[in-house]
Amino acid sequence: MRVAGKGLVNRDKSVTFRFDGVSYTGFEGDTVASALLANGITLMGRSFKYHRPRGVLTAGSEEPNAMVTVGEGAGAEPNVRATVQEIYEGLMVRSQNAWPSLDFDVMAVNDLAAPFLGAGFYYKTFMWPKRFWEAIYEPVIRKAAGLGALSGKHNEDTYEKAFAFCDLLVIGAGPAGLMAALAAGRAGVDVILCDEDMQVGGRLLAESGAVGHLSGADWAASVMAELEAMANVRVMTRTTVTGAYDGGTFGALERVNQHTGKRGGGAPLECFWRIAAKRSVLAAGALERPIAFQNNDRPGVMTAGAVRAYLNRWGVSPGEKVTVFGNNDDAHRTALDLAAAGVHVAALIDSRQGITVEAASFPVIVGAQVCNAAGRKALESVTVRTSAGEQSIQTDCLAVSGGWNPTVHLTCHMNGRPTWREDIQAFVPTAGSIPDMAVAGACDGVFSTLGCLKDGLRAGQEAAEALGKRVVAVDLPVADDAAYALEPLWAVAGKGRAWLDFQNDVSVKDIKQAAVENFRSVEHMKRYTTQGMATDQGKNSNVMALAVLADATGRGIPETGTTTFRPPYGPVAIAAMGAGAQGHGFAPERFTTSHKRSVERGAPMIEAGLWYRPSYFPKAGETTWRQSCDREVGYVRKAVGVCDVSTLGKIDIQGPDAAELLDFVYTNLFSTLQVGRVRYGLMLREDGTVMDDGTCARLGETHYVMTTTTAAAGAVMRHLEFVTQCLHPEWQVAFTSVTEQWAQFAVAGPKARELLNGVLAQPVDGESFPFMGCGPVEVAGVQGRLFRISFSGEHAYEVAVPSRYGASLFDLLLEHAERMGGGAYGMEALNVLRIEKGFITHAEIDGRRTAFDIGAARMISAKKDCVGKTMAARAGLMDEMRPQMVGIKPVDAAAVLSAGAHLYECGAAQVNGNGLGHVTSVGYSPDLGLQIGIAFVARGAARHGDVVRFVDAVRGLETDVEVCAPVFVDPEGGRVRG
């Protein structure tokens, strides 16, 4: 219910939203939780395991109970904290993990079976009969588990990622964070201040105390106004810093439009930030912890700080008759604030003896503990135990405080461990856990408002000084400086189940049972009981559970230790951290200059690394790709074909030591290559396996152009950089990738020269451009390069022009080719053409092949050292039983072959260990009228003519194939030289 005269919500602006189909009204500034509480709704969720009714526990992002689904259809987002989600007009919220309804959930039957479902029960059963696990037990368990549901539809919302840089990142905009940002900002430091709340102020918004002559909220607003006016300060609200990483990098999630529900129009729903900061101040505050007692999970039982927040910030009292129970002075504020606001306080129960509360207008029971709570779906009463006995108090809200835990999480993200402080019975950050991070305020165990302001001021000034700025004076406002005093109370002794991890339904008994079963390590306890593994990651319960475990194992809390704090601090949507990748954004797209022309000609474009290349160019009347492919192969074998080969890596290498570099990275010699000639080269990795192959042309005495395969272009470039910087910095050689600068087209076929002579300024002949010749040419008025090289075994050239002329040249070449009975060919035809000649691609040199394997051992020059030479000579890499490259053709000409098939001796068992090798490439040769392939076969070079068994079990193919030399067309090589 709303309390008159209280709260910061805008009472002039009412907002209507729906929860489980029912319409409710709240005010601007409300969260779903505060608005529901204002409407008298306390049942907001069901627990994970026992489906116990649960109300809201907290007023912040640590909420374990009030988890809801926001939105509908593809936009539905499960597991949203009702305490964080702001209401907006038309907001649709549903409860989750309950069927048929939140009020009546049949799965609550689990609660009755609880004695059999204790810690680790599933490890001890569901084992028999064996096949029942996948068939019955697991599906039932899976269906019962989980909280909310994904829609199952593709994401339709926009998410973004961004980088930000600053000198000082201040995390948390409570009193400490605001003072730190103010001090640093005034000193001229470049500051980013992040807070996950919708407005700055932190606990000041939830407390009634004044700062200076202003209310806490007004003071925060005044500081915010000053910060926003500073050009060097950026304040990011609704932004949770999720993780601390190396080198001053932080992750942060900004909820850009989650509070407006605005979709589309380019505005993202959320943005994931990568913030690089020279220094940081962690002022993330503290989280209140409850106390475990029987049925302490009843809806209406909340943290005392949350009750105060609902009252002071949202003007809501979560109950009509509120009882407060705590072990510390701070809890008293809740009772005092409620009473001052006119809310009936049934009692203040303090577990400590001899405590007095000044100006209390309500019963104060000291030395007492709440030991039970009653009311299944809403709290009705609590039982209070004193030395005099037990009494029942009628109440609909219990505000509990077991003390405060500093929010140490980020300081532990780089393997830091927090330090136990006996005086506040809590873990605090260990200094130096994150390089260049200072900790200030409540997250360092400073709990008074004045203390936080002072500490923040200190941290801000120290940061400014460390960043080389002159410190500017900042006045410290007057504020509450009350001491924080508590006596530890973790779990009230008694029967029944006292809850620790509310969402995962872990009770004190579970922890004790784990200890009995020797799960005494805190990590074992956690993993065995699931304590702390819920969506709050133990923020509300871990310290209590540690204390219970410490007690059960006879150790102290510091020796018991904590589990590991891991990023993210708060949950982050995959769509946010993975923003930009959905659809085509996952990797860059590279297009050749002929891309558009190829698409216009109807060519299906396929991915080749990051590039797109045409698969084939269909013609009218062709119904299968094979028809197109066969025709295109025919162009090259009988007339002339044109193919864009620009995707091959091209590296321009110049300098006096260029030849030395090439001799070192290629197995064969390039220093002996004549100017104006091209040579095929093989490159090894240092471990002796083949890295890449390609041609390299010598354009001048000190000038080469290397080509690489499309796939290896980047790796080869990196390799050259490695060799020239890390092994031979003394060499005078420079190189650069020119892949993008040159468009290059293969012109192949018996009519290739005729075609070229139709477009070149100076005709070429066998003398000016012999096989493996190269040189400058003028083509259609453009200075280009011509290489007489062939990947098809035909008389062929590659002609290169600056990229801006690529599309025009493609058009021109095709125009000529088509007139001559030829045309464009795509990757399918290119593949057949090269298989027919036994030319390799990365299907063959797959990263495990040696020069020996591909029959190129002689290409390793004996005259010089080269990368990989020594390791290639290892016995295991020269073993004659290694599979060697061969050709294969089916004994039955009609048989279908496939790549990936294994080869066995005919009649041998087709089992692991018996394999001779496998098939790497397959194509249909129109010339031969059958399918042919390239394969690797043990001792293959010596087995030409043998028949072996081809087995592709996954495709259901099996046939006899003949091993042969891997050259099917023009074995003498006459055509290429003609």
Partner: protein, 417 residues
């Protein structure tokens, strides 16, 4: 104590007061027949099989932290036998068969769930490589099914088939692949070993290995010296350090691999699915969390935590493959330390020191290997002979080049496997 539904029922009715420790916490003895350094999954299973299959029960497992605290408690829980190269094929096939009988063998529910593992391919070349792999799996006696695009769509219609950077061409389905509850595997082996008399000694860090005249004599620990006739080193993530105690330098570089889990969700992903173009694999745990991971962070590390670039890359892969997971929220990320070898395959071998044995180099495939690794390592330690399924996991293969098993085909750069 034998576990069963009946036992759970009886305990439930009597207030769960009768449960006993899963394992003892014994004091280390002065001498053992065999010491296993490392109480992770592989070390515990080694101890279990030493006791069960070789009758060697005077055995201690020395663990510097808590048992199961290494990579066995920090992985993406995938169990499969879908390797493509001889050497790995027979080993992982053997391991999977042990998995299939593990619950009955251990009397512990490790929740081994053979829900099927689907590897997606995104080009003709990749499909052919999968065919080759599938044929190897079948030749080994395991299962494999090559699916075309429509076959994949029928199985997992929620993938993005229409608007994605690297379209799905098909996939290789391994029906017997799946997941298991990772911690339970460690606990089940620990309990089984303990019941057979093995001493599990936690908080006991080995600080030295005693070797005299080329023969191992025992170890120095933070809890004193312990003599032993045989010592097995099974310390993924610290292999180089422990091997250095015996004067060895290993072909290993340590790397961090991150993994991620989301908040609990109702069942939505029923298989293990891996993307072929960006190293991303995902399954849904029985609790409902989406468990997923990707590649190494790629720099050598002992920090067991990672950085944002790879975390983001993994989630980007998820978004391009299955954009329906966008609104699942990552709850936790973690990192494990991987022993990366120059061919991406492990080492189970003797050493030049008599009585000292080495089990390391599991890269990031160690979880599914837990039963097979312990089984084969126990065989080697007990008999002195290499166990057939792991016979190719030799330490000297890099020097000789014999039987390298480079599944990723990326060569001797450790982090690329």
């Amino acid at each position: 104590m034998r576990f069963s539904a009946l036992r759970v029922l009886r305990e439930g009715l009597t207030g769960n007061k009768g449960w006993t420790p899963h394992w003892r916490d014994p004091q280390p003895k002065a001498e053992y027949d065999a010491i296993i350094i490392g109480g992770g999954g592989h070390g515990l299973s080694t101890a279990y099989y030493l006791a069960k299959e070789h009758g060697l029960t005077n055995v201690a497992v020395l663990e510097k932290g808590y048992i199961g605290g290494g990579n066995v408690g920090r992985n993406t829980t995938i169990v499969r036998a879908n390797y493509g190269l001889p050497g790995n094929s027979e080993f992982y096939s053997h391991s999977l068969k042990l998995w299939e009988g593990l619950e009955e063998d251990l009397n512990y529910n490790v929740m081994h769930s053979q829900r099927g593992q689907l590897m997606l391919c995104h080009s003709d070349g990749q499909r052919d490589a999968f065919a080759r792999r599938g044929n190897q799996m079948i030749a080994q006696g395991d299962d494999a099914e090559l699916l075309d695009r429509e076959g994949v769509r029928r199985l997992v219609p929620y993938l993005d088939f229409d608007n994605t950077r690297f379209p799905i061409y098909g996939g290789l389905m391994h029906a017997r692949g799946g997941t298991a509850r990772h911690d339970a595997v460690a606990w089940g082996y620990a309990r089984g070993a303990d019941q057979r008399g093995v001493d599990l000694i936690q908080q006991c860090e080995v600080t030295g290995i005693d070797i005299e005249n080329g023969v191992v004599k025992g170890v120095q620990t933070t809890r004193g010296a312990i003599r032993a006739k045989k010592v097995g080193v099974v310390v993924a993530g610290r292999s180089s350090q422990v091997a250095a105690m015996a004067g060895m330098r290993l072909p290993i570089e340590s790397h961090v691999l991150q993994a991620f889990v989301t908040e609990g969700l109702k069942p939505v992903i029923d298989h293990v699915i891996s993307f072929g173009m960006g190293h991303f694999y995902i399954s849904q745990s029985d609790k409902g969390g989406l468990v997923f991971g990707g590649d190494l962070d790629f720099y050598s590390s002992y920090a067991s935590r990672g950085n944002l670039p790879m975390a983001e890359h993994v989630m980007e892969a998820g978004m391009t493959l299955m954009p329906m997971i966008g609104k699942a929220k990552v709850l936790r990320s973690w990192g494990g330390i991987m022993d990366m070898t120059p061919d991406g395959s492990p080492i189970i071998d003797k050493t030049e020191t008599e009585g000292l044995f080495l089990n390391c180099g599991w890269c990031y495939g160690g979880f599914k290997a837990v039963p097979g690794s312990g089984n084969s390592f126990a065989h080697l330690m007990a008999t002195g002979n290499h166990h057939a399924p792991a016979a190719k996991y030799r330490l000297d293969r890099f020097r000789t080049g014999v039987d390298l098993m480079d599944e990723e085909a990326t060569g001797s750069q450790h982090n690329l496997h």
